[in-house]
Symmetry: C2
Subunit: 402 residues, 2 copies
């Protein structure tokens, strides 16, 4: 499959010999209409085509009749499904195409979230689906510290390794970590931030996670660096946190909590933070409420829901009387992070194919490219929110910048 930003392939093989019918051509016309003028060319299995002949952003080839109709029937799900399965192929610039499609698509208004309740068991299954794909897979394309969240680029041209280190420092500086303080981290990935805090800021960190592959990795690293007593890794999610802490930090976890469980998160934060405690919540969010793309929920992030800042205030901060001290939106930094990941992923695509299969490679290409387009076009936001208790005056007098 060739729909990617870095390489162009030409498409040849059609596996359907059936002639297209008048109904198929009607469907093609509807499809062309649905892209609101985005210069994309559609070609059916027998060569019947629609859209600009010269310089389209991309050409999409339908190899099967069902694929064509599925795009009309439920594009949110079947664009991804047919692409992944190879029933659709094409050439051109996938990223440019997805960006153009985001730009002409209206965000849903007045949408209400389906209130799925994510039990601890379901959370474990959701986490397992994505984060237990194997550390070797993620090592192929993440930075050297395995930080799988938005990086911070002080300048656009720093490396991904530098940008992830800068992000971790930015988080620590925003939290004004003091030696000896106790930090709890809800959702710790491979432990990079917890280890960074323990190593450079003299704090002790209790970090929680549900991914057994990540936990094993994090514990191994803590032991090998002699940090096992200052960066401890526990098998559990935010709900299992007990004790009290000076700092509550969560990077890239809230988007997995689900709208229905945000109140439970507030309860946990309220229970574990000291009276002068601080918190930092770093999460993928939205400007307006909208469901996560259905294909992404099915194939990539089951249970995922990126909340708006309003929803965070409504369900987490107001109920527990937390005060917003500082918000920074790093949307374009996430687009750049994703570009790094996508380019590194493509460089390792052959290796990934041998570890998994071709549909896996296609699914991850679509997910990484689509995410970059979503952050580039403003469909997704990345909020970093610093909070304290509403009554605490142990708050920074001035703020830090990157």
């Amino acid at each position: 499959m060739s729909l990617d930003a870095t390489r162009r392939h030409t498409f040849t093989a059609h596996d359907v010999t059936l002639r297209s019918t008048p109904a198929d051509r009607w469907a093609l016309k509807q499809l062309q209409r649905s892209v609101h003028g985005v210069p994309v060319r559609f070609v059916l299995w027998d060569g019947v085509a629609s859209g600009p002949k010269t310089a389209p952003l991309a050409t999409v080839h339908f190899k099967r009749r069902r694929a064509l109709w599925s795009w009309l029937w439920d594009p949110q799900l079947y664009v991804g499904e047919t692409y992944m399965a190879g029933a659709v192929d094409g050439d051109g610039d996938l990223r440019a195409l997805l960006e153009a499609m985001y730009r002409v698509t209206k965000a849903p208004r007045g949408w209400s979230a389906r209130r799925q309740s994510i039990t601890l068991q379901l959370a474990r299954s959701n986490v397992h689906h994505h984060y237990d794909l194997g550390n070797e897979f993620y090592r192929l394309w993440l930075d050297r510290e395995l930080v799988y969240t938005c990086a911070y680029f002080p300048r656009r041209d720093v490396t991904l390794d530098e940008a992830q280190a800068a992000k971790m420092d930015l988080v620590c500086r925003k939290l004004r970590l003091q030696p000896g303080e106790r930090v709890v981290e809800a959702g710790c990935g491979w432990g990079a931030l917890a280890l960074h805090m323990a190593r450079h800021y003299g704090v002790t960190v209790d970090a929680f996670n549900l991914s057994s592959a990540q936990l094993a990795w994090a514990r191994e690293r803590a032991a090998s660096e002699g940090l096992a007593d200052r960066a401890r890794f526990f098998d559990g999610d935010y709900r299992t946190v007990t004790g009290t802490y000076d700092v509550f930090v969560s990077v890239g976890m809230i988007e997995h909590v689900g709208l229905n469980q945000l109140g439970a998160l507030a309860h946990v934060m309220d229970r574990v933070m000291t009276p002068n405690g601080r918190g930092l919540l770093h999460f993928i969010g939205r400007n307006r409420p909208a469901p996560l793309n259905r294909w992404i929920r099915k194939r990539i992030f089951p249970g995922g829901y990126p909340p708006t800042l309003r929803e965070l205030c409504e369900h987490v901060l107001e109920p527990a009387d937390f005060s917003v001290l500082d918000v920074e939106n790093l949307r374009l930094h996430y687009a750049l992070t994703l570009r790094h990941w996508r380019e590194r992923f493509e460089q390792s695509a052959d290796r990934v194919r041998t570890m998994f299969d071709e549909p896996f490679v296609r699914a991850w290409r679509l997910y990484l490219t689509g995410s970059e387009a979503a952050f580039t076009t403003g469909w997704m936001q990345l909020f970093q929110v610093v909070i304290s208790r509403g009554t605490s005056n142990a708050v920074p007098w001035t703020r830090v910048s990157g």
Copy 2:
């Protein structure tokens, strides 16, 4: 009246000779109970007293029976009313007392705002009530530029003049003003920010206000500095803004808009901002929705309503698809600003008394001291919010700090 933080007076005169009754003493007991252990001493007109004899934060003397009962009946209104009228007097530290009271008082939960509609006529009357008290009055205790909003203190010990200049620069830097850009300011006070922007950042500013006293002052200053063509002052509120602008700025205005009109504000911002426009909203807010104190609404700020960040998102930002780029909470900077104002006000109290009368001096002392206590204890917040359109990528890559 002596209940202020900087001076202590002793109270002597009682103007009521009636003996207190068992009912009065019951009311006294209820009142003492209502302060939740705050060490305040209450003394009735005949010397009957309640509360700690040694080292109370303050002693409150009721000079009239009606004052005592009014405090039980409707403290939110009558603490201020009786104090203002001289029916209650006292000695001690008013600021410490108000802070202690804020600390033991629970914020209302689940409160819904009364949706008052503030028409343009009502807005004009509200503004006239407060801002047309005379420029000479405000010159007695504001900074030299007459900035009547939260200052920014890079260090706690800079002067008020320096802190107001630093605040104006912080606003301009957050907005990344470029020479030649067009700025609209909704609610411009005496024009300090508009003049600062035109003078130091090479932009042209159209500034709107409803206070005739402030407008006259601002126009006079613009003319005398030769800035009349680059800082223009118009008689009108946010609803009367037309044209298009690169930047929308509003400092200390949203708290006068009213919850019911926030949607109209969103509509105006959406109408006047260019596709790559930026905005900055600086306003007094809350962590949880609550009405402004009723006495403050009656005597100081008719129609005032400090919204929560959630309410700003819900009524202004989400409907118009604005993106939150940056939020900073300057609550403690406002407490320090108010301390400066209060101290300067007290230094000019005799002069204010000749300009107005004793109840005016008392009302403003209570307002300034109570506001300082509200910001110190976290009852009020000061949010500075930078926004762009949700689809614009003409946004700062990194943020500024003060």
